[in-house]
């Protein structure tokens, strides 16, 4: 019997499906709100995210990441594709303040703690400009053009910072480099 919630979902286990909606609904909704221009878009995006999750659940591999990371990856891909098909980048847009913003609790802190804490630590070790570009692109959803304007640097430099930052974190997460051994830790 699969222990992972997502692998149980992949078998069509209806209890697991409801648990999955319960556990990750808030996460999907938070991401959709952050990447959507209006509540209607966010509603549609959440439904699309879950359909994609049902389709992809069997690909989840607990050896390479947490379920929350997998769900976030699927959600981000949906959101990027969705807004690309609508011919616009998923620029961050704040939704109206009357939307519910009640904090319901941590996203499974036990599961996430280790992986996310390590990533956060590696982010802190990046050069400030790499941190800034990754935050603006990944979290704020800004295009490289918008980042270039915001930071007053060329487009190519934006891409370079993003790539170097991601490569460094990738190497660090795979244990391939020693702290500060490459690229001059600030």
């Amino acid at each position: 019997v699969a222990n992972s919630l997502l692998l149980r979902v992949a078998t069509g286990d209806t209890v697991a499906v409801e648990q999955c909606i319960e556990r990750f609904g808030g996460l999907a909704w938070s991401l959709a709100r952050r990447f959507s221009a209006n509540p209607s878009d966010a509603d549609d995006a959440v439904q699309e995210i879950f359909i994609e999750l049902w389709r992809s659940a069997s690909r989840y591999d607990e050896a390479i990441g947490s379920e929350a990371t997998f769900v976030t990856m699927i959600a981000r891909r949906c959101l990027v594709n969705r807004f690309r098909q609508q011919r616009r980048r998923p620029e961050t847009t704040e939704l109206p303040a009357d939307l519910p913003a009640v904090v319901t609790g941590q996203l499974d802190p036990v599961e996430q703690a280790d992986e996310v804490a390590r990533i956060a630590e590696e982010m802190r070790r990046l050069r400030p400009e790499q941190q800034a570009v990754l935050k603006m692109s990944i979290y704020d959803g800004l295009s490289h053009d918008a980042i270039a304007k915001s930071m007053g640097i060329p487009l190519g430099t934006v891409k370079t910072h993003a790539r170097r930052g991601l490569f460094r974190i990738r190497e660090a997460m795979s244990g391939a480099i020693q702290d500060g051994a490459k690229e001059g830790t600030p």
């Binding site: 209806t14 909606i21 390479i64 990856m73 904090v103 979290y139």
Partner: protein, 268 residues
């Protein structure tokens, strides 16, 4: 294998993976990524997207807003609908599930084994009661055709030597539709899958709407439900392409097998 390929190609693949994770890719870059991914099947193509997801989580507040009750109910209802679909797969057509990847987990294989047993149990019953094909899908298609403002479009083969043919019934109003196909070669879903594209008057023709990935699992006529990725408002054309397993976001359109333009006269 990757060691036979220039290292610069693998470096470029990693750059594109990083760019996709950080910014998304243009259609040309997406094509390039697909081609390079095919050259380096041992590269984990999701690695940077996973990293970006973990970075996203690390930058967030670590808390979630609740899913509104009405939306939660809709998600549950969609889930019930989604997981009731495998019955359609038992009828010889792998249902169009957009972006679906070949099933790999043991759990999924177990489900497939159970489904296969059920198929065997049902096969005689179906044969006794029904002509080849899926009666419920055929009936659903007929019911759709009876609705007002349904587009019925013949599909034309692009290869004169092919025996592929079919038609599409689609309703912009109901956002539902069916492909009726015959003569398409059966595909190995581990190698390639068919994908439907819907061209919309209000959509950039370079980026048609994904209508779902599907397989042809047997000879003869098959009916495949259409699953549009986003709302279709004014259909102008349909195209069926052959793509890598799971389908693609933007097709290179290198292997178009059937095409159908929507003449106004075909709208009920």
């Amino acid at each position: 294998m990757s060691h036979d390929r220039p290292a610069s190609h693998q470096d470029r693949l990693l750059e594109l993976m990083a760019d996709r994770a950080a910014f998304g890719l243009s259609a040309a870059e997406q094509d390039e990524l697909q081609k390079l991914s095919a050259q380096f099947p041992d590269v984990d193509s999701e690695e940077f997207e996973r990293l970006a997801a973990a970075i996203d989580l690390s930058l967030g507040p670590g808390v979630a807003v609740p899913l509104p009750a009405a939306l939660r109910a809709q998600v549950s209802e969609e889930a019930r609908r989604f997981f009731s679909e495998p019955a359609e797969q038992l009828l010889g057509v792998s249902v169009a599930r957009r972006g679906a990847s070949p099933p790999r987990s043991r759990a999924w294989l177990a489900w497939c084994a159970a489904a296969a047993c059920l198929l065997l149990a049902l096969a005689g019953w179906w044969r006794a009661l029904s002509p080849p094909g899926s009666p419920d899908l055929a009936q659903a298609r007929q019911a759709l055709l009876a609705e007002p403002r349904v587009v019925k479009t013949p599909l034309k083969k692009t290869d004169p030597n092919s025996s592929a043919q079919g038609d599409i019934a689609w309703s912009d109003t109901a956002q539902r539709g069916f492909m009726r196909l015959s003569g398409l070669p059966m595909n190995d879903p581990r190698r390639e899958q068919y994908q439907l594209w819907i061209f919309d008057k209000n959509q950039d023709p370079r980026y048609p709407i994904d209508g779902g990935v599907f397989d042809i699992a047997r000879a003869g006529e098959v009916i495949v439900p259409i699953r549009a990725a986003i709302r279709v408002s004014d259909t102008t054309m349909f195209a069926i392409t052959v793509e890598r397993p799971g389908g693609v976001v933007v097709s290179s359109r290198e292997r178009i097998v059937l095409l159908g333009e929507v003449p106004n006269a075909m709208v009920n």
